[in-house]
């Protein structure tokens, strides 16, 4: 182990003889050659897995980067196998809404506006949700009127038969838990709807897993959907994202998907977006993550997820047919001085009364030009007018984009001095094309990419070079990235390990480094919530900051240490780490020092600072073994604590 940090020290002073790329040779402060592959892995992936470094070295860094830039050439079938049981990941929003109905659909069924499905399991989900919905309505009614609510089961009397019923029910409940999986599912489906709801809504976490034990993936989905259908959709969305980031072979594509999902942020918690984000990620963002910026911009603008999130779907031109129709029908209603008509009095959430500038503003401020991009309030209004009519058909039921000419503001528009002739739906396309080709956009996107891949304060010369490529190649993201990866600033020593891992990068890299086979990523997503960056959970359209100062905090750091300890102790449900497996084939080391050396190699590829190494080694030397592994613990637990110290160390927080 002493040899280890000697090696590290030597690496720091080695001057590369044959460096990649060639240009780097003139840079006296560039990364030593041996570390180039690790640096590339740190930046283009969610962290190196055991064996990755050797693979990149044997392929050659240049060739590997080029391959990552062309994800379509990389086989990703093992990921597909991992994701195959998450059925909603391949459904259209309409299918999801139909299979795992949200409250809006249940309400429609209850009012006779929507038919029940034919499939037995789907029908059971609807039946359960209807029961819950009616029960809730009745309860709320009774609270107001002060009368007792009676469920059909309680009708036998207050205590006598009711007590008997509950005794029978608890005996029945016990029996269900002990049935073999297939029969268990049938027994649950055969329960009366109220019994089913009482059972499923009272489960503890342990009881839930006991009930799910041995069920087929589809049956598990149904079981969850009986009580919380939306949670199936949301849970699979989050699980899919985590599994992809950890296991996809197309790592740069995953990194760029994360980048654009954050750039074009849509908040999961905003109503209908529960059912729209799966398609947003799969059909809008990922296929264009390395494509042309304009295509990505247009696709996000037309996506129901974005139209709903930033309210454009309800934006009505003040002089549009829809607004004029509304005002003539509502002739006696007062109207605002600017001529806008008012929504229904006391109107519901959907009453739209005029122009909504939310999307127009964020489009320029956050998606294209940047906050200092030189646009005025007037430009915001003009862009908003051009976008009127870009709306969603049935947003609560899966939603599809369509242009409603009745909502569209007539007349020509002027955006940043550029005249847009009245042309309906085409106007917004013209705005998007114009914005995507603005030099301010090139600068803004280049800066953000450099912040992601190089450092929180990237060198201006690098940004300028990327900007130039962006303009010259008409916003080709792959080309801009190629410029970035071939720039000396990317390979400069100043960039080496200059980035703090975001919560997602930290969690994903810990799972990749330890080679854990994740069965259920729920514990991982919960950890991300506690670290302050839940997946799809950023309310503000800004997305999470690329700069660590905005999010690194005391509480978040404590969570990283807690997470490292829990992961290494095998206490994360669904993500159980096996150190013996990780160290398979290696001679089990006799003492703490050797274990430390082995784990430094495995988890950090030997990249550990002398200080961190010294402190852990000293602690292992001076702490009694019983304290390290607990009174009755084994050597395996000792290994776990060392792994935890390494994963929670300052060194592992950087990439």
């Amino acid at each position: 182990m002493r040899g280890h940090w000697h090696r590290f020290a030597i690496l720091l002073v080695v001057v590369a003889s044959t460096a990649w790329p060639a240009r780097r040779e003139q840079q006296p402060s560039s990364i030593p050659r041996q570390q180039c592959a690790l640096h590339a892995l740190n930046r283009l992936t969610f962290g190196a897995r055991p064996g990755d470094l050797e693979r990149v070295l044997s392929m050659g860094v240049d060739k590997w980067i080029n391959l990552e830039l062309h994800p379509e050439r990389i086989d990703d079938s093992s990921l597909a196998t991992r994701l195959r049981n998450l059925s909603t990941l391949s459904m259209s929003p309409e299918q999801m809404v139909e299979t795992f109905p949200p409250v809006a659909v249940i309400k429609a069924v209850s009012q006779g506006r929507h038919p029940l499905p034919l499939d037995v399991e789907e029908r059971a989900i609807y039946r359960a949700q209807l029961e819950w919905y009616r029960d809730k309505q009745e309860n709320e009614d009774s609270k107001v009127t002060g009368r007792q609510a009676h469920s059909p089961l309680d009708s036998g009397g207050e205590t006598g038969a009711g007590g008997l019923n509950s005794m029978l029910e608890s005996a029945h409940r016990e029996r269900i838990f002990h049935l073999p999986p297939g029969q268990r599912m049938i027994a649950i489906l055969e329960l009366s709807a109220p019994e089913q709801q009482r059972l499923l809504r009272s489960l503890t976490a342990e009881e839930t897993s006991a009930l799910e034990m041995g069920l087929l993936p589809r049956q598990r989905e149904t079981l969850m959907a009986l009580s919380h259908p939306e949670q199936v959709v949301v849970g699979e969305l989050v699980a899919g994202r985590l599994l992809r980031n950890i296991y996809s072979e197309r790592q740069l594509e995953a990194v760029m998907t994360d980048f654009w999902l954050n750039h074009f942020n849509v908040f999961l918690g905003k109503g209908a977006d529960h059912y729209l984000l799966t398609s947003y990620e799969r059909d809008v963002i990922r296929p264009r993550a390395l494509g042309r910026f304009r295509d990505l911009l247009v696709a996000t603008a037309q996506s129901p997820a974005m139209l709903f999130y930033l309210d454009n779907w309800m934006s009505v031109g003040p002089d549009s047919e829809a607004a004029r129709g509304l005002s003539s029908r509502r002739g006696r209603q007062p109207s605002e001085p600017n001529g806008r008509t008012l929504g229904r009095a006391g109107g519901g959430k959907k009453s739209s009364s005029g122009l909504n500038e939310n999307y127009a503003r964020e489009l320029m401020e956050l998606h294209t030009l940047g906050v200092k991009g030189g646009y005025s309030e007037r430009d915001v209004t003009e862009v908003a007018k051009a976008f009127t009519g870009w709306t969603i058909r049935r947003p609560q039921e899966g939603g599809t984009f369509f242009f409603d000419s009745r909502m569209h503001q007539p007349g020509n528009k002027v955006v940043l001095g550029h005249r847009i002739k009245q042309s309906g739906e085409r106007e917004a396309i013209e705005v998007l094309t114009f914005l995507s080709r603005s030099p301010a956009t090139a600068k803004f996107i280049a800066t953000k990419l450099a912040e992601r891949f190089v450092s929180d304060d990237p060198p201006p010369a690098l940004v300028a070079r990327m900007e130039h490529t962006f303009v010259k190649k008409d916003g080709d993201i792959r080309e801009v990235l190629a410029t970035l990866f071939h720039s000396p600033e990317f390979w400069a020593n100043a960039a080496y390990r200059a980035k703090l891992k975001t919560p997602l990068e930290f969690v994903a890299s810990a799972l990749r480094a330890t080679g854990v086979d994740v069965a259920d990523p729920k514990a991982l997503s919960e950890a991300l919530n506690r670290m302050g960056e839940p997946l799809y959970g950023c309310q503000q359209p800004n997305g999470y900051s690329m700069r660590a100062q905005a999010w690194m905090s005391a509480g978040a750091l404590v969570e990283r240490m807690h997470f490292s300890l829990a992961l290494s102790a095998g206490k994360l449900p669904g993500a159980v780490m096996s150190l013996p497996e990780l160290l398979a084939g290696q001679q089990v080391a006799p003492d703490g020092e050797h274990l430390l050396a082995m784990l430094e190699d495995k988890l950090l590829n030997g990249e550990i600072s002398p200080e961190t190494h010294r402190i852990i080694a000293h602690a292992l030397d001076t702490t009694p073994a019983t304290a390290i592994r607990g009174e009755r613990g084994s050597g395996g637990q000792e290994l776990g604590v060392i792994a935890a110290l390494l994963l929670g160390s300052p060194d592992f927080q950087r990439r």
Partner: protein, 413 residues
């Protein structure tokens, strides 16, 4: 924006596994000495998330339109707890009535954020950033307030009872968030005092990494202080009857922190569930139940603070009010202005502040909701200036112009 995170303790205190002599206030806490007052003034902000129906919480019973616009959810005339002949508290808010009579509690009606958005998340965002209408503000106004505080920064100067730092407290100044004192203080194996927490602490103390070093220092220092609070063993003051629920539990922990005198000057807590579109209820029902939890928690907190209430100001807010008229589902929809409460020893309570805009149809905002006559920043600026002595209000609320001559007079100058 260029943010530089500040290190909260000067370099001397950053020694490895520091066991340096404790500051006097910590010794007091460690020894369990009850002090009459700590001399620290503090501000506590409470967010009612979901847009509370201020018109049914502080009822304008002198307003005929109130009764015609809310045929099923109105609180019947005479059921309210009259405050001043025009306004009355919802009967479920009775726990706060004595505080109003004792002139510790003030009400500001028709207050809130001037932005017109009816989106919960935008409106909350604006109230937390303190810049209504401006999305790109990176930090929260409570964090910016910390920059204006005099005196030494200690780890628990600004706390939020939440899993993560809320928007309102995020920014360059140190602030910590936790759900549970006990688990943050290292109830498990990550205690800075024991193995392996002590090793983590040394690694970060020795790290040349400025940001990680500072964050870790905050964490370990806060955890160390919290351990002195002795979270296992807390008995609220006699008469402080906290109801059940998360909000009461948060306030109880906050009272414990304040009474331990670990240097809390700014704190944040929240209570959700106010979005009553359907079956809101009248004297009983959903709003009544939540109002009861809210008011009983606050009253218990106030009782629990005892003498320390003298140096405490509590301000409540909610992202917007609700429609003046009830809707077709015996609930209310998203509206505009709302009611705020200001509670504290130095507060000039027993009065409803703010200009009342009226509830007649032609007096409503966009024909549907209470017009806003007091910007929430007006209330908060006064609290920051007169309670915490913050002079540079323009840095806390950029773009908002205010002067002490415009204050409502909630606190003595």
């Amino acid at each position: 924006m260029h943010m530089t995170r500040r290190v909260f303790l000067k370099s001397g205190a950053l020694a490895v596994a520091s066991t340096a002599a404790l500051p006097a206030f910590l010794k007091r806490a460690a020894l369990g000495i009850e002090a009459g007052g700590s001399g620290t003034r503090r501000l506590i902000v409470i967010f009612q998330r979901g847009a509370a129906d201020g018109l049914n919480i502080v009822i304008p019973h002198g307003e005929p339109s109130y009764y015609t616009m809310r045929p099923t959810i109105r609180v019947p005339r005479g059921s309210e707890l009259d405050l001043d002949g025009f306004f009355g508290l919802h009967p479920a808010m009775s726990a706060l009535e004595p505080l109003f009579r004792q002139r510790h509690l003030a009400v500001v009606h028709a207050a809130g954020s001037p932005d017109k958005t009816r989106s919960h998340f935008d409106a909350q965002d604006y109230m937390e950033s303190g810049t209504p209408g401006v999305k790109s503000t990176g930090d929260g106004w409570l964090n910016r307030s910390l920059q204006g505080l005099a005196g030494q920064t200690v780890a628990l100067r600004a706390v939020a009872l939440r899993p993560t730092l809320p928007r309102i407290l995020s920014g360059e100044e140190p602030a910590v968030a936790f759900n549970d004192i006990q688990s943050f203080a290292g109830g498990g194996r990550n205690s800075p005092a024991g193995w392996p927490g002590n090793v983590f602490q040394q690694m970060y103390a020795d790290s040349g990494d400025r940001l990680l070093h500072a964050s870790a220092q905050e964490a370990f220092e806060a955890a160390r202080m919290l351990k002195l609070v002795n979270p296992h063993d807390y008995t609220p003051a006699p008469g402080a009857d906290y109801p059940r629920g998360r909000f009461a539990n948060d306030l109880r922990q906050l009272a414990q922190l304040i009474k331990s005198q670990v240097g809390v000057e700014i704190a944040f807590a929240e209570i959700g569930g106010w979005d009553h579109h359907v079956n809101e209820g009248s004297t009983e029902g959903q709003l009544a139940n939540l109002s009861q939890e809210f008011s009983q928690s606050l009253a218990a907190f106030w009782t629990d603070l005892g003498d320390l209430g003298e140096e405490t100001v509590i301000v409540t807010m909610s992202e917007f009010g609700r429609t003046a008229r009830e809707n077709g589902n015996r609930g209310t929809d998203h509206g505009h202005a709302n009611v705020m409460f200001v509670l504290g020893g130095r507060v000039r309570g027993g009065k409803v502040y703010g200009r009342w805009p009226g509830l007649a149809p032609e007096q409503l905002n966009e024909g549907r909701d209470l017009v806003l006559t007091t910007d929430f920043r007006q209330v908060l600026a006064e609290a920051l200036h007169r309670q915490l002595g913050i002079g540079d209000l323009a840095s806390v609320f950029p773009g908002f112009h205010t002067a002490s001559s415009q204050f409502l007079g909630l606190l003595p100058g």
